[in-house]
């Protein structure tokens, strides 16, 4: 047998083997990801790509890190009939537009077949539905709560405020002691404004009124919102958010909580990674609880947000394999592997965390917080974040409008009238994301 004949025979045998029944062709699932640090990329390559490959031979997950404008790149690719298999959007509002344009695959069959409808918190599944059809699932969820320095609070004999009145008393005390009451600042990240708006609106007006407004049955100009925004403005004027709000980044302000420069942080669960960065090296102890609420507003209260949602490209050549990747993300194996390494980022909305074995140490504070938030969600004690439940133009208006309100360019009434006008337009055109 000549060398050529041997080679041809080898190729023929390989071809026959591939065509044999039961042998599936190796499939690749693509996923475009935002910019990450080299350490974070390594973590995902190990825990997600490596973990998935180990449990799913025959399917390869390809994560492609495409920088901060990945959402725009993805949108253009989808428009031209391309794009990755897994569509990672910024949340329900973006997924809503993509689904309406027919660019996403309906996931109801996968949810039933793979058990997502039983494994995930039902409220989060409902956020991904458009006209009753499931198109996206939150990759992670976040909750706004109140972080504080447990050591400083204990030393000064302070307790975490549960009511707005208690919070104001404590904030005034902090101001008198030369502290900035709230960890706050928008330098480098102007959308930080909407985080403070979200907390203030939820704690002062309450989730029931917000829900009605988002459903279009109560105008944003309602007295309950005017009163809330009047108080929100008064807090800024008193200096609760600091005299250098526009020159300070929220992360720097959070670091200031370690030394007592800043007092307490109305922040999202993403700040658990800042606890790790700033409290742990200093040997300080952080604490986390619900945001304080006004009279008549349920306590505890955690405004809930979805920063990222997963879908499958309608044009995907491998939708079943893409569904397997999503299924792996919602598995206890992946949760147990990633959460100890990257707390706050991979807060996957799993309904039951009790049977999961953590492959590493998770701080008691994080465990306590996630349990507290899950219980509150189960009891319906959750609020609404602007970046998840408000349509895009209204959200952008709020980001700049908060500054106009604080800097005396608009009264609470004018600010809310502007919001009502934009929101009404978006409600009419069907751009308001679904409510749970």
């Amino acid at each position: 047998m000549t060398k050529l004949t041997r080679s041809l025979s080898g190729v023929a045998l390989a071809a026959i083997a591939l065509m044999a029944p039961g042998h599936a062709m190796a499939q690749t699932v693509s996923w475009w990801y935002e910019a990450l640090t080299p350490e974070q990329q390594k973590l995902l390559d190990d825990k997600l790509v490596g973990g998935f490959a180990a449990s799913h031979p025959g399917v390869t997950l390809e994560l492609e890190y495409r920088g901060n404008a990945v959402e725009n790149q993805q949108r253009l690719a989808l428009m031209s009939g391309g794009g990755p298999d897994i569509i990672n959007s910024n949340g329900p509002a973006t997924a809503l537009s993509t689904a309406k344009a027919g660019q996403l695959l309906a996931l109801d069959d996968y949810a039933a077949k793979l058990g997502w409808d039983k494994r995930l918190i039902p409220m989060f599944l409902s956020l991904g539905k458009v006209d009753g059809v499931l198109y996206s699932i939150p990759k992670n969820y976040e909750a706004m709560g109140l972080f504080y320095n447990a050591d400083i609070f204990a030393a000064k004999g302070w307790t975490a405020p549960k009511t707005v009145t208690e919070m104001e008393t404590l904030a005034d005390t902090m101001l008198a002691e030369g502290m900035t009451p709230f960890v706050a600042g928008n330098a480098g990240f102007r959308p930080a404004n909407e985080q403070f708006f979200t907390v203030a609106l939820n704690q002062l007006a309450g989730p029931a009124a917000i829900r009605e407004a988002l459903a279009g049955t109560r105008p944003w100009t309602d007295p309950v919102f005017v009163e809330a925004m009047t108080k929100f403005k008064a807090w800024y004027d008193k200096g609760y958010y600091g005299k250098d709000y526009f020159s300070t980044s929220t992360i720097d302000a959070f670091a200031g909580m370690v030394t007592g420069k800043t007092g307490m942080a109305p922040q999202g669960t993403w700040a658990f990674s800042w606890v790790k960065d700033y409290f742990e090296p200093a040997g300080a102890n952080a604490a986390f609880t619900s945001i304080p609420v006004a009279e008549g507003v349920p306590y505890p209260l955690f405004p809930i947000g979805v920063g990222s949602a997963l879908s499958i490209n309608a044009k995907s050549a491998n939708p079943d394999a893409a569904a397997q990747v999503i299924d792996y993300i919602f598995s206890g194996d992946f949760y147990g592997a990633i959460v100890p390494q990257w707390q706050g980022e991979w807060n996957v909305p799993l309904a039951d965390l009790s049977g999961i074995t953590m492959q590493g140490e998770v701080t008691p504070l994080y465990k306590e917080a996630t349990t507290m938030i899950a219980d509150a969600i189960a009891d319906g004690s959750y609020g609404y974040t602007t970046w998840t439940f408000w349509p895009p133009k209204s959200e952008q208006y709020i980001i700049s409008g908060v500054e106009e309100l604080w800097l005396n360019k608009a009264s609470p009434e004018q600010f809310l009238a502007g919001l009502q006008e934009i929101f009404a337009g978006e409600l009419a055109e069907g751009s308001v994301p679904p409510l749970p």
Partner: protein, 280 residues
């Protein structure tokens, strides 16, 4: 002959002409970037002109243009003339003046934001500790635009100085010497000999300044993202927000056309000026 033009022509058609035509078409459509565009006539322009933020942004672009038509051109001309006169160290000064131009915009912006303006970590904060009250200009509605312009000026005037120096060096030495023998001082030399001699270069730079001023985006976006309270909003940041955060690409295209209109007007004025001078 057409074969020679084909490579450049095809690149220009694909990269400039087609996107430009699409932008013009989009300005008359409602498009969210996801679904098919729908023709809406002049609705986007009506919405843009009814938006108070558009007028704030346009006003800021005009202020920006006026600042950049005067301050850096004056500094650049002055520095270039000084460089022309000095005999030693000219190359060194040129490098030093030009250096900010080659530093990446993001780095320049972050250095000014964090190491100069910042009241906690910057030079302004240090001065405050010595009792010199200097507020972060980026944090106040009255000063934010000027704070950004100062950063851009720092980065820009050296470029103009080098360009003007190159032009000044083309001025015949005999003219300069003759003026000096006639008793012209520094400012007399500038006014009567040097500036008239390099007027075409200055005019070109002024036209380009108008075009660039209406395209300004990077420093504004990095330093304030148009805030606080729209005080530093310019047309390009408005268009960017319309397109990529509000998903209203039709409106963004309408704003982009307004930007292009100012650029085209400046270009047209320059071409007319050149034609008139050529005729004379």
């Amino acid at each position: 002959m057409w074969l020679f033009a084909l490579p450049a022509l095809s690149i220009n058609v694909v990269i400039i002409l087609i996107p430009a035509l699409l932008t013009i078409a989009l300005a008359f459509c409602q498009w969210d970037g996801f679904s098919m565009p729908v023709f809406v006539g002049l609705a986007n322009f009506n919405a843009v002109f009814a938006d108070r933020v558009f007028w704030i942004a346009l006003g800021n672009n005009i202020k920006w243009t006026l600042i950049f038509l005067t301050v850096p051109i004056a500094i650049g001309l002055f520095a270039a003339t000084l460089l022309l006169i000095i005999k030693r160290g000219r190359t060194l000064f040129q490098i030093v003046y030009f250096m900010p131009v080659v530093v990446a915009t993001a780095i320049t912006a972050r250095v000014w934001q964090g190491m100069i303006y910042n009241p906690n970590t910057g030079v302004f904060g240090l001065l405050q500790r010595f009792g010199i009250e200097l507020a972060d200009p980026l944090a106040h509605t009255e000063t934010a635009l000027y704070g950004i312009a100062a950063v851009d000026l720092w980065h820009w005037w050296g470029f103009l100085a080098v360009i003007f120096l190159a032009a000044l060096r083309q001025v015949p030495q005999e003219m300069v010497e003759a003026a000096r023998l006639d008793g012209a001082g520094f400012f007399g030399l500038m006014r009567h000999i040097l500036i008239p001699a390099i007027a075409p270069t200055i005019k070109l730079m002024m036209v380009m300044t108008v075009i660039w001023s209406f395209l300004v985006f990077d420093f504004v976006y990095i330093l304030t993202q148009g805030g606080p309270a729209y005080s530093s909003e310019v047309l390009s940041t408005l268009a960017y927000r319309n397109a990529f955060f509000e998903f209203d690409l039709g409106r963004a295209a309408a704003v982009a056309l307004v930007i292009a209109l100012f650029g085209l007007t400046a270009t047209f004025a320059y071409v007319r000026l050149q034609a008139r001078e050529g005729a004379n």
